[in-house]
């Protein structure tokens, strides 16, 4: 059986998805990146290997997410794709008539506008991480509420409190104030959801034409409180698609399937033994010019696989000569 593997290495979580040749999901994994992308990719590969049907063969690998280049080198990916394109492709696969995609992840959030099956506009959060999952994560830990039970408890709120959502630092002092006034934790939790929804709509989605069907995905879509807050704000039904937390990985797998079908190339996948290999990254400052770029070097058993981080291709060029190792 031919299968296609997509890996989405985000800042907070790493997602892997394996599709068969009819683009049906065979298995998916959702792991915490914990600042160690390489180890997590290897762990994810091990899990996929265990979960794979015995007759399956990997015919294409694609990576996406903020560590897509690193993951691409480690895996021997056939395709390295940005997360906006992969998310859009996967959403259209499950909800073909989608017109608006709201994606809220750990460190970034996006809006993708789709008309007639084509992405026509998109937006991402700017330098500030206020409108993202880490905002909820951070505040939940302050209130000593696990992020898993956050949504359910928020739904119990009867009189949500108003919390300034423009900036996490402001929100925090506002929230502490409300907490010390004696408000119920449930009301504060739902207040936070509303603050995040407002923040998202006023920043990331500012000026975008939000038309139904509206699909909400990414890790934060687990939070029922957020779904409700967005529905209230937008006055429309919010669809949370199946496998919403691994859609980036699914999109990557869909794209690499499409591409290998067109060009007929054999996969560059390094095989499951990759999960046992000893990868090592090191950094150094290039002295060739006054820019002093920080070059990252990825090596396997002492041999350099790739280098990146430079403003010119001086170091990347030297690395490609080792690519066949």
């Amino acid at each position: 059986m031919k299968t296609y593997l997509g890996i989405d290495v985000g800042s907070v979580t790493t997602k892997l998805a394996l599709l068969d040749q009819d683009n049906q999901l065979i298995t998916a994994n959702y792991l915490h990146t914990q600042g160690k992308p390489i180890a997590v990719i290897q762990e994810g590969l091990k899990q996929i290997e265990r979960q794979m049907p015995p007759n399956a063969e990997i015919c294409g690998v694609a990576t996406t997410g903020s560590a897509r280049y690193l993951a691409g080198v480690i895996m021997g990916a056939d395709l390295v794709k940005n997360e906006i394109t992969t998310q859009a492709i996967a959403t259209m696969h499950y909800i073909p008539n989608v017109r608006t995609v709201i994606e809220i992840g750990g460190q970034d959030s996006k809006i993708i506008i789709i008309r007639d099956g084509i992405v026509t506009d998109f937006g991402m959060n700017t330098v500030c991480a206020a409108g993202t999952g880490s905002f909820l994560d951070h505040q939940a830990s302050r209130l000593n509420v696990g992020i898993e039970e956050f949504g359910q408890r928020a739904l119990k709120s009867k009189m949500p409190v108003r919390i300034a959502g423009r900036c996490t630092v402001f929100a925090e002092s506002d929230m502490i104030h409300k907490q010390q006034m004696g408000h119920q934790t449930e009301d504060i939790l739902y207040g936070l959801c509303q603050a995040l929804a407002r923040n998202y709509l006023n920043n990331v989605a500012l000026g975008k034409e939000i038309q139904p069907p509206v699909v909400f995905q990414g890790g934060v879509a687990f939070n029922q409180g957020m779904v409700k807050a967005l529905e209230e704000n937008l006055n429309t039904q919010i669809i949370v698609p199946p496998h919403h937390e691994v859609l980036g990985a699914i999109g990557a797998a869909l794209l690499v399937h499409e591409e290998t079908d067109i060009n007929g190339n054999k996969t560059q996948f390094r095989g499951f033994s990759t999960s046992e290999a000893k990868y090592h990254t090191s950094a150094f400052e290039c002295k060739a010019c006054p820019n002093q770029c920080e070059i990252i070097q990825l090596s396997l058993n002492g041999k350099v696989l790739a280098r990146w981080g430079g403003r010119c291709d001086l170091w990347e060029r030297t690395a490609t000569s080792h690519k066949d190792l």
Partner: protein, 331 residues
């Protein structure tokens, strides 16, 4: 010993360097250019200026610092206005004073104020007092001015008629080592992408994380405001907003309007974070692009050193444009 005038490779440099060089050359004065922006230049500039200053001005100060001990004068012209009731940003107007305040070790500053709202006489007087540093003969100053203007017109004309970027001309003039090596691809580019914004953002590879090279590497031809004649830019600007409010509005509103009319595949707007005029001018183009359903990507540049965020947006933008184009050609 020949006198050396320092010209920072920042802000107005990209628009006017050949003109300035020609002017000073007439008096036998050498020009010293600072090197292309580096990490050191940015760091030293940022360390002297207050946090609220925009990145281009911080970088400008870094360039002045790198030239401070290499020249006898520092040339910092002030372009107050180039057209009726259109003025430049206050930071650019105060540039000689900012420099004096934050870089006391700078050699004497040569400033000249150009203001189209004042009489022709005041323009002559401004140029004359600049030339007076090198000669007492007004005829020589007049000759230098005429020559410099001719050079400027030729420079502008060459860029718009041959589709060149300023750096493709100026880099040859001032430093052979930094020639931009634009690999000419024989196959026609898949996409035409216009990059609009001020030249000091578009052509400074450090500030924009090699945006032009990156877009070209993704298979697109890059079009910039300088590749359009001033008349065409002005016409496009007038049809959008009437009379401009800002001196360099043509870089943004003119170029954006022009490239929207000519139906390029996509437009990338480059602006500096904390730039007031840019935030307003880009908004005009953003709205117009939305009306016309034209792909528009707005990138704000600041002191970030990680280019990942920009790459993700660029890749997604070009993917979007490619898929849209494919979808349209199928329909």
């Amino acid at each position: 010993m020949t006198t050396r005038v320092g010209i920072p490779r920042a802000l107005l440099y990209y628009q006017y360097y050949p003109m300035w060089q020609a002017f000073f050359e007439e008096f036998g004065v050498e020009t010293a250019i600072s090197p292309p922006t580096t990490k050191d230049i940015v760091t030293s500039g940022c360390s002297r200026t207050v946090a609220e200053t925009c990145l281009p001005v911080k970088i400008f100060c870094g360039h002045v610092l790198s030239l401070a001990d290499k020249c006898d004068y520092m040339f910092i012209p002030v372009i107050r206005s180039m057209g009726k009731n259109a003025y430049n940003c206050s930071k650019l107007l105060g540039l000689p004073d900012i420099t004096k305040a934050v870089i006391p070790e700078s050699p004497p500053i040569l400033d000249i104020e150009i203001d189209a709202n004042k009489s022709k006489y005041s323009l002559y007087r401004a140029i004359y007092s600049l030339g007076r540093h090198f000669t007492k003969n007004p005829l020589r100053i007049e000759k230098a001015t005429k020559k410099a203007w001719k050079i400027y017109l030729a420079y502008r004309q060459k860029m718009s008629s041959e589709g060149l970027m300023p750096t493709q001309i100026t880099d040859k003039m001032c430093d052979k080592r930094h020639q931009v090596d634009l690999a000419e691809n024989d196959s026609p580019p898949l996409l035409n992408i216009a990059v609009i914004g001020h030249p000091y953002l578009i052509y400074d590879d450090y500030i924009n994380h090699r945006l032009i090279t990156q877009v070209q590497a993704m298979g697109a031809k890059v079009l910039t405001p300088e590749m359009v004649s001033e008349q065409a830019l002005d016409a496009a600007m007038t049809s959008l907003v009437g009379n401009p409010r800002w001196t360099y509005e043509a870089d943004v509103v003119g170029a954006g309007g022009y490239y929207l009319q000519t139906k390029v595949d996509g437009i990338i707007g480059l602006a500096a974070f904390a730039c007031g005029p840019d935030s307003m001018m880009m908004n005009i183009i953003q709205r117009r692009a939305r009306q016309l359903k034209a792909p528009f990507l707005y990138l704000t540049l600041d002191e970030h050193t990680a280019e990942g965020g920009m790459l993700t947006r660029l890749e997604a933008f070009l993917d979007m444009v490619k898929r849209r184009k494919r979808g349209q050609s199928c329909a």
